[in-house]
Symmetry: C2
Amino acid sequence: MKKAAAAQRKPTLKDLAEQAGVSVGTASNVMAGRGGPSAATVTHVFEVARKIGYVANAAARSLRSRRSRLVACLVPDITNRFYGVIVRAAEHVLREAGYTLLLVDTHNDTERECELLLDVTRVGVDGVLFAPGSESSGKLQQQIAQVDVPLVILDRDIAPDRPSVKVDHFSGALKTANYLLDLGHRRIALLFPSSHLRPARERWHAFETAAAARGIGDALELVRIDTSSMDIAFSQCLALFQQAAPPTAIFGLGTTLLAGALKAARQTGRDIPGDLSVVCVGDTELAQVHTPELTTLTWSLQDLGRHAARLLLAEMEPGIEPQSSPDATGHLMLTCELILRDSCAAVDAQGRRKAARGCAKTTAS
Amino acid sequence: MKKAAAAQRKPTLKDLAEQAGVSVGTASNVMAGRGGPSAATVTHVFEVARKIGYVANAAARSLRSRRSRLVACLVPDITNRFYGVIVRAAEHVLREAGYTLLLVDTHNDTERECELLLDVTRVGVDGVLFAPGSESSGKLQQQIAQVDVPLVILDRDIAPDRPSVKVDHFSGALKTANYLLDLGHRRIALLFPSSHLRPARERWHAFETAAAARGIGDALELVRIDTSSMDIAFSQCLALFQQAAPPTAIFGLGTTLLAGALKAARQTGRDIPGDLSVVCVGDTELAQVHTPELTTLTWSLQDLGRHAARLLLAEMEPGIEPQSSPDATGHLMLTCELILRDSCAAVDAQGRRKAARGCAKTTAS
DNA sequence: CTGTTAGCGCTTTCAA
DNA sequence: TTGAAAGCGCTAACAG
């Protein structure tokens, strides 16, 4: 019966204050951890709170303080491990700062991103982490401008007036391009999930830049495969491998696309790195499980999520500093690393393999 | 200036009522979609709302209505594609019902699960979806009992008084066991990420049951490898493959564990299915990318997430029916499917391969 | 350092 | 069908 009575109505701040023999104001100050009350009062109030099972009502608190301690995170696809890692890291730092993360999966649909961005502001979040699926939508840009709380963009070129955390895909791809060019490759296939987005744009540009820099712009044959489907990547690579002058190297995203490409390589009896050099983008399990292990261009998704969360915190609580160090405009750039493993080999001018065995582990510039 | 003035203070329901020439009560009824106001009033109020950019304040609404339309979802690791799929599906059905999902990653830590379960109720969620990382913690069971809102458990045997959605791992593994036993396999390695959890327990039990049913309980050698690390799976399988009477078949989770096992198989020069039959658990990319494609025991993670969300909705809104059909106690069981592909072959009594080429695609019971 | 008080913006009776 | 009024539980400003 005692329990039933207690469960009947949740104790409010008023109850707590009465039971503890203090005023609501004091009780509030204690429970919110605001300095003021004496140590004796604090311990006593906490004690009573524990005893009567007092829990502050979040709605009332938000209503009055105009802060919900809720942060929305919009990602194109939480099924994708990339976003899983980012979200996990972000959630972790936000939680430590006392925020809770609302997850919204936009299904990589621009229309939906617009709606959801709006929906989410209705919930009254204090901030937004946004990983857009596209960059070119004017409507989306407008919608972002409408958001009246701090918002941080993840690795996309959109809304330059908002802080962002990006990956330096250009430098990363440049390293890779130089590495591959040094090995003698001149016909290279680049696999992109969506070539109009920042990562793909930067990488393509980097390969062209690298070739131009060494004056072999004309000699370099770059093939672009633009799909996010494993099956299409597979069939397109198959076609590519069967043509007269097939690529001697491929470079592409590791979980889905490259899997399709590798399957095509296997099907056409290609040895890696004997007949085909491979650079994997993103350090996936595939890269490490594959035989031989794949040379990989990678960056820290954890840092991406972590820094984005910190940037957002800094915006939400003007008191605290970003911890990370964005440039003057609030943009932060993360670097890529090229991990040399066993999937690349040198080729001669005809695209035939040079060395008999072993793989190329000469350092890239 | 007009814009600045508008942005100055967000319009409240009172503002809306005044502008529209109705009372707050009516305005509230209109905005909340409650029947009552005449069609003319409704359109007019909506019109004005749109014009002045009225957005209801979620905190005030929650405070008054005692419902936040927030649902917490606790998962051990959002980095794991399994949970990504579940969360995505759940988020989708919850959103359609007007709820927003709070994501909490428990990092597969029981202590943390307890704390977070508590934390999350403080936020004032209307319900909880919980995918526990463990089953045996008494403290966790207590903590679950403390949660005073609807809560649905995902695929774990804990808190039987709460509704749950589970996968029928037993029947699935039984099918697999019979299939493998029919092919003549008698030395089988079972890979588990954590053998004390429901999926592993049921699968192990199923293999023993299958053997007992055909009176070969003694002849069957089951090896258990219990790790969630790819490297450990690799080294343990390597050791296993190098012993005098190595297993002729392995059965295990597909993304990490099996990847390690396959690497060990490759390293010991094993042909699949020639020297080793493989059944993959969970339809991962690996299963389809591998050559040969892997026979797989699978179930719908989407359904798992979807049904869990529906069950929760039914609990939160007593009006609506579950749509899914749980048993009397609110538990729902999802079935597994064994997809026969090219990674299993028949062996003779000595464990040597029987057929020369091709793979076993005889139907399992 | 502690108490008092006036709302935050909304829903929900109840009366008109 | 609509309007008026009473709070939901809390914070913040100010008085003591």
